[in-house]
């Protein structure tokens, strides 16, 4: 199992997995013996996992009152507090200090004492029966690559549910396990014993709706659309010859055109137009026979011209769609339009890192202003936060494959805003749309959307009206924050840019571009699965990085054999090596020809597989030497010669008479120990099958 070939110890996700497995076993044992403390074992387990995951949320009467570690303590206290009686009758105070307050364990209940007198009620005496739900969850990193969502929900005194969502490498096993339960009490019992709220808590949270009753609730679904901005990979800017190099000193890549000096004339970059057309074709969109550049007028100093050149009513591409996989299912999101525009400059506000602008002023660097930018607007076809990162990852792979962008999230070359609304399930028309901005990674997109859905659902269930607004995602708190309500809606006064004539790409050029589009990721994945008999996830890992997929194909060609062992080299051994060095698997210094040669050496039994994947690989990566000469020059050649190995086997047998005795007595177990001894003496070079055979003969 490849799990153990990777260096996984110390990986947080692995620990969680081990923990989950251990507790599952312990729990099964307790179940069998019908032990009464099963509940407590579960709680301890939940708390440990919560600590590792770091996301907790506590709701009282469906009103979320706490998030983060505070919620964990409070929830725990409420849960155990109900049954806790101080035997001495004395007031014992147990403080669990957190940033926002502390918990006091007292005979009459648990008290929450806030440290800061902000908007908290002075003291809350909280009983478990007040709690609607205590939810613990978070992203589950696994093997540094896969990620999933682990969520526990402990409903007030009734049931515990936990589920693991969308773990990529685990998908098959975990989804089938799709662990629901264990249940503390049967759901029927929950219905029979409705949750009662104590008076004090009821007063504090009078505004919140009552705890869930058996009555059916309106179920909402989310409607999500994404707007992605992608910086195109060109040498020069969109309308002038300034270079697009990243990370140079501020305002060193500017000219009269991109700073909007009077009398200058912008001239479009042909490559950028070509890239946009290529994206449109790959998405299956319709290329407009004629399209126009417009001026989008606004006053914000990130554009020196006071307008951004963009496209308005006639974009270069309309329609199309993108297919992506989410939780093992293939979905399709339609694309509304793709248009070409120019990027803006970067502003620094007071309080930001790096060079600090004072609070009265902002600082501006126009190096990015005018870099060609493509905007890809999806239709509102996404229905859950999980779909957004899946869509974005697929889009990223597509753009990389097309070679139109480097798609570096950290350099801001792929940015994304989301439109999100909710509506009761089954309803046709859309709800009030909220735009979410400032999401800087795939994970923050997912988090922001999950938060927004919860927020909007809560507002709707509380009978409050949602307003159309732009909200900003705050990475540290995981919340979205509403901006000031605008006095009047944005009015950009678009008009055709008189400096730029219409674009009407000639048919011959379009044909050339279409012919130059490489095999697209979806097709390539399917082909890898079909031709090389790879597993879906292995094909995905390779194709996600087009250069990795190219290296893999080169190696398969050089090997002239099955693709499966080659895929394993790239996805496991070179990936591990790359992980250590912080580079991609194809960049560790091992060429496709080397990989083919390594596998051939294994096939020819010139070297054992563990040595090939260990010392030999390491030396090839370090020296760039040919694997065959590495094996030969460093004496790592496999020993399969029965005479030579026989001598070693005899030595081992002679040195371990007690073990031999046990094996002869019918206990086959320690045989592995003897094989290990032989391996040790031959420094791993012995052919295991031959050793087995020789041992069998001699015992």
């Amino acid at each position: 199992m490849n799990l153990f070939r990777r260096r996984i110890w110390g990986d947080r996700g692995t620990w969680i997995a081990v923990l989950v497995a251990t507790v599952a076993v312990v729990d099964a044992w307790i179940m069998r013996h019908n032990a009464p403390w099963r509940t407590y074992v579960l709680i301890i387990w939940v708390v440990i996992v919560a600590w590792l995951l770091g996301y907790t949320e506590l709701r009282i009467g469906r009103k979320q009152i706490r998030r983060g570690r505070d919620a964990m303590f409070l929830g725990l206290a409420a849960f155990v507090g109900e049954e806790r009686v101080d035997p001495t009758g004395e007031r014992t105070r147990v403080w669990s200090g957190t940033a926002a307050g502390a918990l006091a364990f007292e005979p009459e209940g648990i008290k929450w004492v806030p440290k800061f007198g902000d908007d908290e009620p002075g003291e809350i005496s909280l009983q478990w029966s007040d709690v609607y739900s205590w939810r613990i969850g978070g992203v589950l990193p696994f093997l540094g690559r896969a990620s999933g969502y682990l969520l526990f929900t402990l409903y007030g005194g009734r049931e515990l549910v936990f589920a693991i969502y969308g773990v990529r490498n685990w998908r098959r096993t975990v989804r089938e396990a799709a662990i629901v339960g264990p249940t503390l009490l049967a759901p029927e019992a929950a219905a029979a014993a409705p949750v009662e709220a104590t008076d004090t808590a009821a007063e504090h949270f009078a505004a919140a709706p009552p705890p869930p009753a058996a009555a059916p609730e309106v179920e909402y679904e989310a409607v999500i659309g994404l707007e992605c901005h992608v910086e195109l990979a060109t040498e020069s800017k969109m309308f002038c010859g300034c270079t697009t190099t990243f990370g140079t000193a501020p305002n060193t890549q500017v000219c009269a055109v991109c700073t909007g000096q009077p009398g200058t004339l912008p001239v479009p970059n042909r490559k950028a137009i070509e890239h946009t057309l290529r994206i449109g074709m790959a998405l299956g969109g319709t290329i407009a026979p004629t399209s126009l550049f417009h001026r989008k007028n606004y006053f914000y100093p990130d554009m020196p011209k006071n307008y951004q050149i963009s496209q308005y009513d006639v974009p270069m591409v309309t329609g199309g769609s993108l297919e992506y996989d989410v939780n093992g299912e293939t979905r399709r999101c339609r694309v509304h339009r793709v248009h070409l525009e120019e990027d803006t400059g970067k502003t620094r506000h007071g309080g930001e890192g790096g060079r600090i602008a004072d609070s009265e002023h902002s600082l501006i660097d126009y190096n990015r202003a005018g870099i060609p930018l493509v905007e890809i607007v999806s239709e509102a076809d996404l229905r859950s936060p999980d779909e957004a990162p899946a869509y974005l990852a697929e889009l990223r792979t597509l753009l990389l494959t097309l070679g139109v962008s480097d798609v570096r999230l950290e350099e801001g070359s792929l940015r994304c805003d989301a439109n999100i609304s909710i509506r009761p399930k089954g309803q046709e028309e859309f709800g009030v749309k909220v735009e979410v901005k400032n999401m800087n990674s795939l994970r923050s997109v997912q988090r922001a959307l999950a938060f927004e859905i919860e927020r909007q659902t809560e507002e709707a269930k509380g009978g409050r009206t949602l307003i159309q607004e732009t909200r900003h995602f705050d990475e540290s708190s995981g919340r979205t924050i509403g901006g000031r309500t605008k006095e009047f809606s944005a009015d950009y006064r678009y008009f055709p840019d008189p400096d730029l004539v219409p674009l009407s790409p000639p048919q011959g050029w379009l044909d050339d571009i279409r012919a130059s589009i490489p095999e697209l990721p979806t097709a390539r994945r399917r082909r890898f699965v079909r031709e090389h008999e790879l597993r879906d996830e292995d094909a995905r890992t390779l194709v996600d990085d087009p250069k990795l997929a190219d290296a893999f194909e080169d190696a398969v060609r050089a090997y002239a054999g099955a693709g499966k062992p080659i895929a394993r080299w790239y996805n496991e051994d070179l990936a591990q090596l790359g992980n250590d060095k912080g580079v991609a698997p194809q960049d560790v210094g091992v060429t496709p020809a080397h990989v083919a040669e390594l596998q051939r050496l294994v096939d020819e039994q010139k070297v054992t597989i563990s040595l090939a994947k260990g010392d030999v690989l390491k030396r090839v990566a370090e020296t760039g030497q040919d694997p065959r000469s590495v094996v030969e020059s460093s004496g790592l050649t496999q020993i399969a010669d029965e005479g030579e190995l026989g001598a070693v086997v005899d030595e081992v047998i002679a040195a371990n008479p007690d073990v031999v005795e046990r094996i002869r007595g019918g206990n086959e177990g320690p045989k592995g120990f003897l094989v290990g001894e032989v391996m040790k003496r031959t420094r791993g070079k012995a052919n295991a099958q031959v050793v087995q055979k020789l041992l069998g003969e001699r015992l």
Partner: protein, 98 residues
């Protein structure tokens, strides 16, 4: 179609222009005259005429993706109303102002 003083004020605000009442009146009348002229064109049978985005009968003017020396940073910065080292310095930007 005549335009109102409110329309003029709205457009002026979008363009960050401060107009006196007399100016509002002046521009209202001038803009109304321009619009009326345009409206007269609309009375012609134009169903078969595509909207004209550009008066010059040209398409596909573009340049190859070639970097040209752009060492204008210093002179442009020198012309800026305010600077801070190699940065342009502007009055503080409100996060959400668009």
């Amino acid at each position: 179609m005549a335009i109102s003083s409110e329309d003029v004020q709205h457009v002026a605000r979008l363009a960050r222009l401060e107009l006196t009442d007399a100016e509002v009146e002046l521009f209202r009348d001038q803009l109304s005259a321009v619009l009326e002229r345009a409206q007269r064109i609309q009375q012609l049978p134009l169903a078969d005429v595509p909207p004209t985005a550009h008066p010059v009968p040209l398409t596909n003017v573009w340049r190859e993706d070639v970097v040209e020396p752009c060492e204008m940073g210093e002179p442009i910065l020198a012309n800026a109303p305010d600077r801070d080292g190699e940065f342009f310095r502007v009055p503080r930007i409100l996060e959400d102002a668009e």
